[in-house]
Symmetry: D4
Subunit: 249 residues, 8 copies
């Protein structure tokens, strides 16, 4: 339930368009709703300005749809992350207005987009071609949360002149999300170029001693730049979310 | 060299108080200065609004003093982190205006404090009594960088009613730094209470399977709250720095 | 062989309904029985009040059925854990009275339920929707062992007000089983609310630096609450068993 | 503040021996008390039947004494764990009635012992001579919490006949704490002999691939016995505490 | 080439049944033979009393057959380990006298069995039902190498009376191979009962913190018994081989 | 774009065969070209003497073909590594002149081979039959980069006389690439025999405590020979590349 | 108590030199003796042919002496391992006949040496100079247990010709103990040269990615030779013991 | 024994200045010399152009001096690495011509320097001030082996413009050694700028999740540049040695 839905409801009561009983019933779910396999927090977008996001991995598609149905009563934006193509198909049959972004493995159901706000642009940079899916998850999240988002892909440190071509764009960003696998060095370099906050996202791209992203993760945590903080491996969503929270401070 | 120093110099030249030759010589260090064991980046506070911070660990005290002497020519604030009491004593003999914060293992040499700015307060919370040194390093850093800083210590999740006594203070903060060792659960709980960015700092406090802070670190990276990003173990300085960068966005 | 079976047998001998020879033959398996691929401990339910439980993972279905056939001669309750749907199907063909709980991956063959006993209720709490299968394994085990069992699902620490809605239920429980993946913080918080024993179960739910449950495991071992002990990752059965043992002390 | 202290106070007020003002002042600390570096939870022994225990490791002795002074106003029992001999000396100067147990690195300040209660005996078993300090920490904790405690030391699995000499004592115990380093096999063997709950404590005793107790910890978590739960490496206190909580269920 | 083959060849030359040229040609492969993807060491059974054993895992079936064809010219026994059922089928078509042991994933092609020799029996013990495949690999290897082999399966430490039923058999063995997954405690207990060498084999059986056998491996390396040495996880072949080498000392 | 292509273009302009406008347009891609999912560095073979190599793993085949199409305009040699058979099939349909090396999982598209140069031969040695794919990747890379390459396969340290048969070849090489899985000991032994640089390549061949190549990797990093440096697990390409760079110094 | 002591006692009783009462009293300790901090197994040398060995690390010197005093009543040989020089001094004051081997950190108190027995020589080989202490611990143990022992030190694989100078000695040994740190490759090479059992001992010698001996340990477990089994890091005593057990089979 | 020493000796014999007997005696050590705790390989500088280097860590100073005394008879250059100041003092008393480099913990005893040779300069770059000791070990080694060596210190990636100031020097080097701790990103960036071989050296500088250099090590192994190979953590000597071997190819 977002602030607008609540306001409409109260106005309808004030106008006599809705009886107090009906309004009460509608508000029943303003608190946490227990649907057996999940507790849906309908208060969340009122309190936080953005509703809960559904983590699709490991969840049966029936549960995903069940949660969406409850949320769809009140929310204008519903995001589902880490959802594979076949499960997404079943969701889209139920919610034809939803859009599935295959490379980012993400469903966006946006009835009314949030107006663009925030201090400035969020810039999402990725080191390699294979890091793009995680980078896109970050970009889609930040966009859905009402930010203007720019992207630069495939500018890893092994050919650092590729990065420097975008110096202006980099310096103009308010918040940066930098995505890298393998040695995970790109966030350190980027953070050294700017005085803005950088959210670093390690990816599981690599082989051998990349350890499914651990090497990149630890590399980022040990950055000698100080305007960096790190999220979990492949957590593009978390990075986009954190960047949005910072941008709208 | 900060912007004020540069402006004074240029004014003095304009007024004829300083000859062009002398000014040139003074500016010699505006670029990076190589003193053998270190490259001092005098541009940094011009570019970034805050000078380099000296990481004291492993550095011979002679090198620390050497770097401080070069920086002190231009900078109004010099911080040294991770410096033990005996080395700090030698530094304070040379720089009697510097202050040593023993529990945070930090030297602050502040000729002219930065004016308080930023969106709001930075709140530093620590889970246990033993986490206080890291929390203080974060708080001192954020204060030196021109923020109003509040602290709450020893409110770990095992007695969560202690935390809830500070609900108002928590909800009022613009940016939060949450410091915890052992199971590292506090940042998740705090982040669930607010819609502001939380910088989580794992500490090496604990024993056995705390692995010198790794358990807390991984716990924080896996937080089911999304408004969290993490810095390295015991990196109070980094957390205070990142929080400041965010707060002044 | 449970105490009732033994008593019936002895009574039959006393009554002359069973010859001593036949009784002897029946008792042959009172000791350990070697069936080639397994040593079945028929003494166990006599000694311990509950028969052996079959760990289904990695065992060929033929062996599972073979063991069940030997046990079924004497036991009133047979549990099989970690058995996938296809193997379970083959078992249920042989034992039509058995019930397969798909989400908990568990077969319960209960000829005569144990009477409810114990100090009080066992409460099973899970942090996330994806932790439910492990939580259900714990709940089914505790129920089969003769306890009254309550459950609360999806009340992770990121929205801690969801947990506090159940404060009374939590404080009323005699023994608690708390199941969590990702950062594994829930058992610490719950244990801080009660003065009863909490069995913590880490799950392999998560990604990246959750390391298949290791992060949750270590988080729980490092809990700053002291009324916690931990079982292996995803070991819902063990937690339910231990809770039952404690409850009937 | 325990229940007795509170009752005395209220009686004194009822009798007019204490003015309401003085009583109020005394009660000031019934809630959580903030002494800067610690939040002391005076409610705890009221709520839980046992006061907070001070974790001495890493805490400056001044802080330990400071916390003890606040607690001593109300509590009848104060325990300090993991405190080295020199720091303990300083504490005992302040609190001459306290006793320091050097091998267990523990201070017990017991004004009025708790009456012995609980379902039965708690038995503490250790595998090797070097595991004794951790075993004693468990035994002292359980004793202070009002249990009858028995101990058997140095009965590791390499000479298992040593263990079997104590079969009766083992079978008679209500709750068992089993302490082992190196391969950590003892809890599995003991748990197989009884139908009571076993709290397993890995110790950091060993070398090479014992990894400071990790091997013993993982060995215990993987026990094929099901009546086992595990606490952190060297956490004798936690094991004694958990055993007491179970015993008084 | 074993000693018998060589003797026959030389006798044939001595008798004039074989020309020197033909004999020379036959001996061409007495040294190492390079067949492109492998160097076959035909000297080995002459030097060591047993030919090379083919490690089937990861090898294309064409290479396995190719190596067998070269070895079959001279050797009386060929073993292939870690070969899955489908690949084994292709091998057996080529070598109809070979036998595939499915649970041990092993092919034995035995033209002439080695006579039984050695100091005494080799006893292979396994802790759980799921450890049987590895135990059988050890037993088949030791049998093929000319030892009398006994086995006891499913006698893990959680029900240690099952083990003690076989005390005599255990004490009678000359060399013991003890196979265990999960907590890996069985070799320690067995080694404490005998004064003979014990080869411990960890298996990858388990889940969660069993880490694919690492916990069992480390447990065995840390055994407080001294008559133990350890081989790699799941290395039944190596254990059977080492036991044979010891037994024929 | 290599030097020859550039020279032809400039000559054509000089001769009037190409207008300045057309030449300009051709040169557009001399700098980095952004094709959305990749930044292609056309300068690279001009600067470095060898074009970028496409890492096929995780890249959709459409992207691989897209990158090849842009590169094929200017480059004489294109390599694609870590590409599975089905994806390779799709590539070869587009580029019929390309060759797929199935065991090395590598595509070589060589329009004009580089002339053989370098100080001497590069020798690639592999320890086991299963290490051959990685060894071949190294050999193909070095060959494509214009070196004479020799190979020796299956000469692991367990039968070290097999290695010594190739002593002359080993001593004659200018640079050596030594590939080994399992215990990874071969590079140490080989490096002890020569005074030339050895590039060591660990492979993921093995099981149990080989940890997917980590054991071999660490073994090589700890070599007591000093003329060794190491590349990532299974990184045959990197080893062949580094050996070529050294050989042409 | 060894067999000789027992025989003397019984003879004395038979001769009337000792009264039955005195003999009984003497035999009191034939069973396990509990001295509070240790259970001394006086049966052990009767049962196993060699008494318990005292692991000195972490044991207070008072306990070591206490155990030795009880053992000295009956045993002819007492070994103490891992005992530092200062603690050894205190022991030698009490037992002037004991000898301290400083580099092996071992005390040997040998009243009557065991006669040399066994199948043949035990050969102890070490890879580097720094591995000698562990190698000596193995050699001293095997010598004390009644074997003829040979040693070769500092013949690591980086200069393998040093090893081959001792080919005859190596081929003549009945059992081999091979000690190596760093890459741990020596046991693989040695085992390839012989058809006798090799006990491999990793040492903690090295730095960086040697991980205190883990790299050598895993290298040895992954040996492509099959006549190898491994003991814990730095466990020279265990290797010497196991080799003796094998040699006297 | 280097080639010059040998030539002088032979000339002296030819001239009759040395009797054959004396020469023979002098040559006694041309083969490997066994001095009990070490096998000195006097052939090495003849075969390899550079004598053995003494690894000082863990070696008693008496052994270091003993080895030096034997080597000093023939060699013109002796290096001792990883030797602490107090042990170095004892060495210098014996060898007054030796020089101790305290920051690199290295002794160089150079009677006759090697002439400068090689393809070009070796450039040693370090990321941070604290990495200088390792960088100096590399530089001293390469200098002693007859290379011209350049150094650049403190140019980490967080302020990458510091690195670019040295672009010409970097591009002019024949071989590069790049030393970095923490995130270990510098070698990737440097290797991207050149087409020469880069030897990457991780250092143990850092804290928290730097894991004593492991993060830097893995970061370097995962570099997306291909002209990189890596040596062990803190192995400045190995890097300098490998760079020299490459430079003189």
């Amino acid at each position: 339930m977002n602030a607008d839905s609540l306001k409409s409801l109260l106005t309808a009561v004030a106008n006599g368009q809705t009886s107090v009983e009906d309004a009460l019933s509608s508000c029943r779910h303003l608190s946490v709703e227990d649907i057996g396999y999940a507790h849906i927090d309908h208060h969340r977008s009122l309190r936080k300005g953005f509703p809960e996001v559904i983590f699709g991995q490991n969840k049966p598609v029936k549960q995903i749809i069940g949660i969406m149905e409850r949320m769809a009563l009140w929310e204008k934006i519903i995001l589902v992350t880490r959802i594979e193509e076949d499960k997404a198909g079943a969701v889209l049959e139920k919610f034809p207005d939803a859009v599935y972004h295959k490379d980012a493995r993400m469903i966006c159901l946006i009835k009314t987009p949030l107006p663009v706000s925030g201090k400035g642009d969020i810039l999402v940079i990725s080191a390699g071609t294979s890091d793009i899916p995680v980078a896109k998850e970050a970009a889609l999240t930040a966009t859905a949360m009402g930010n203007r988002v720019e992207t630069i892909f495939d500018v890893g440190v092994a050919g650092i002149h590729r990065l420097f071509r975008y110096k202006e764009k980099i310096e103009a960003a308010a918040v940066l999300v930098v995505v890298a696998g393998m040695e995970g060095a790109l966030p350190s370099v980027v953070a050294g170029l700017v005085d803005r906050p950088v959210i670093a996202v390690p990816t599981s791209v690599g082989y051998g001693s990349s350890f499914g992203g651990l090497t990149a993760l630890f590399s980022m945590l040990n950055s000698c730049s100080s305007n960096i903080a790190v999220v979990n491996i492949d957590n593009g969503f978390g990075a986009g979310f954190m960047a949005s929270i910072i941008n709208r401070l």
